[in-house]
Amino acid sequence: MNNAELNPIKDRSMVESAVVGNKGVLRAQLIDGFKRDKFIIFCFSLLLVYLLASLFAPVIAPFNPYDLSQVDILDAELPPLWEEGGDPRFLLGTDAQGRDMFSTILYGTRISLLIGVGAVLLQTLLGVAIGLTAGYFGGKVDSLLMRIADIQLSFSTLMVAIIAAAVFRAAFGEELYGELAVVILILVIGTVEWPQFARTVRASVLAEKQKEYVEAARVMGFGSSRIMWRHILPNTLSPLLVIFTLQIANAIIAEASLSFLGLGMPVSEPSLGALISSGFEYIFSESWWIAVIPGVVLVLLILVINLLGDWLRDMLNPKFYRM
């Protein structure tokens, strides 16, 4: 019997392979799809604007919101420029302490992004290390690590983050916690969300392990760590990229939620979440902009990241560990 016949593949899979093509085609497709999809270009440029704005916040911002000498309490609660009573110095109005909203938002975005990216980098590091270990060594190590991942996931990550942040705050006191907030938030959000990365990496490692080249590399006497870094990791990049993107959105949401609860950034150095939190009580006194404008900025940022992540997922179409 013919060789091809020993391995019967359904006609359907053939149509699919005709559609998906090989890796080189895939990359071309990614660029192609990017050029074709105007909406995604728009999202990407918006994200770029966010990144540049937060990178150059000290240059762009007309005021330094951390510098108390630049703040006048008499300017408090001024509405944005286009509203009645707006002040030409303050494009987006001022908050309850008289700080320029535009500047505070720029600095706030900077902090939100810093914590988001920092936390996800930590997640990736932890997740990839744990996933590689579990997948590569298998057996008891694997089942123990995945059991821990299961339990970690069944306890909501936000719950764990809230409790951890709460304990830190109670232990350090409000003032010291405020000073260390950025580091603590990165640590807390970075350590609780590793299972997603770990599971995905593990799944890819298990799939790759079946393939001959890994075995060949081992036979040729390469150490296990070298095989993992040089061979397996590059093959897991596309699912990791998608998770990385989507997780940044989640991390920013988590940071904002913690800050809203008073467990995140202090009012003196607010992230977007802390800004919204401090503006919350003023929506009852009709000063809606203090909470709503940073809210819109935050939602737009998360939305853009989510859209890009979804688009990447559709384009790369990697095999996911289903949650």
Partner: protein
């Protein structure tokens, strides 16, 4: 069945053990119980004798055993602020939180299943695109912001709905205060429940849609089509049940997230539940209350996860509880 239950119970026990260990670690490192008891006026020597008497100088493990014994008896210490048993304080607030979660779960179930199924069946038409677009926005808006925007719109601008508290409640079965039987109570429930549901609803719509689309592409659905069954029967009988099985498991896991978001929701609407209490306890460094909350929430997680596994086993014929 019995074996399954025993295995689940052992697992639950291990998880609760870890939770209590964390709880104890927090209690022993946060705050000084002595100061709460006797204040600043006592001399150093007297303190030391008191510490010995209370066993605060014992090894960690001995202290933990004592703590564990108390926990098993339901004694989670006395709240510094309320001067009442911490467990009692928390359990008093439990009904409010459970009613909030119940309302949100109702909203999620009522909307996510039809919308998820519809968008899976008709993935390309404009209604589905609209639903999917909204669900993406829904995922991108943090819960607290949803709460703030809803409050601003419906409570401040339109003044249709109340913005805080539980409103008028009725006492049920002697101790359970419920807001579900008064108009005022229901009105107060509306915004917080929608807020709490807002994060999970889009997630579940997307999840159900993805699962359903996968199921609809499987062989047994094609086979059902080749039998000449009506589309409705294929979607609802062949598609939905197989779709909902994995959703049950995910749903069980999401209850944890839900409880976490009650903290946020209760803070926005000053809802007198466990979450609001917990945050107050954190601000007051009321350690016994923090630890009690941790243990109660841990117990809720363990119980719901066990129940969900049990339900999954009962609904799914391919899982045999009896033989495992």
């Amino acid at each position: 069945m019995v074996a399954f239950l025993i295995r689940r119970l052992i697992q639950a026990f291990i998880v609760m053990f870890v939770v209590s260990l964390i709880g104890f670690a927090i209690q022993s490192s946060l705050g000084d119980p002595l100061r709460e008891l006797v204040g600043q006026s006592v001399s150093e020597q007297q303190r030391e004798t008191l510490r010995d008497e209370m066993g605060l100088n014992d090894p960690f493990f001995t202290q933990y055993l004592r703590f564990g014994e108390k926990v098993l008896k339901g004694d989670l210490g006395t709240s510094y602020f309320f001067k009442q048993p911490a467990l009692e304080v928390i359990l008093n607030k439990l009904p409010a939180t459970l009613e909030l979660v119940f309302g949100a779960v109702m909203i999620i179930s009522i909307f996510s299943i039809p919308l998820g199924v519809y968008t899976a069946i008709r993935p390309y038409n404009w209604v589905s695109r609209l639903v999917m677009g909204f669900s993406l926005i829904g995922i991108s808006v943090p819960v607290f912001l949803t709460g703030i925007l809803l409050t601003y719109l419906f409570a401040v601008e339109l003044s249709w709905l109340p913005s805080f508290g539980r409103g008028e409640t009725v006492v049920l079965f002697g101790s359970w205060e419920t807001g579900y039987f008064t108009r005022d109570g229901l009105l107060h429930l509306l915004l917080p429940c929608i807020t709490l549901a807002s994060i999970m609803l889009p997630l579940f719509i997307r999840l159900i849609r993805a699962e359903m689309m996968e199921v609809l592409s499987l062989d047994y659905v094609k086979f059902a089509k080749s039998k000449g069954l009506s589309p409705l029967r294929i979607w609802l009988v062949h598609g939905l049940k197989n779709t909902m099985l994995p959703i049950i498991t995910v749903g069980g896991m999401q209850i944890g997230t839900m409880v976490a978001y009650t903290i946020v929701t209760e803070t926005i609407f000053q809802w007198p539940g466990m979450g609001f209490l917990f945050l107050e306890a954190v601000n007051r460094v009321d350690t016994p209350l923090i630890v009690a909350y941790l243990i109660v929430v841990g117990a809720i997680f363990v119980i719901t996860n066990t129940l969900v596994d049990l339900i999954y086993g009962l609904v799914n014929p391919t899982v045999k509880l009896a033989r495992q």
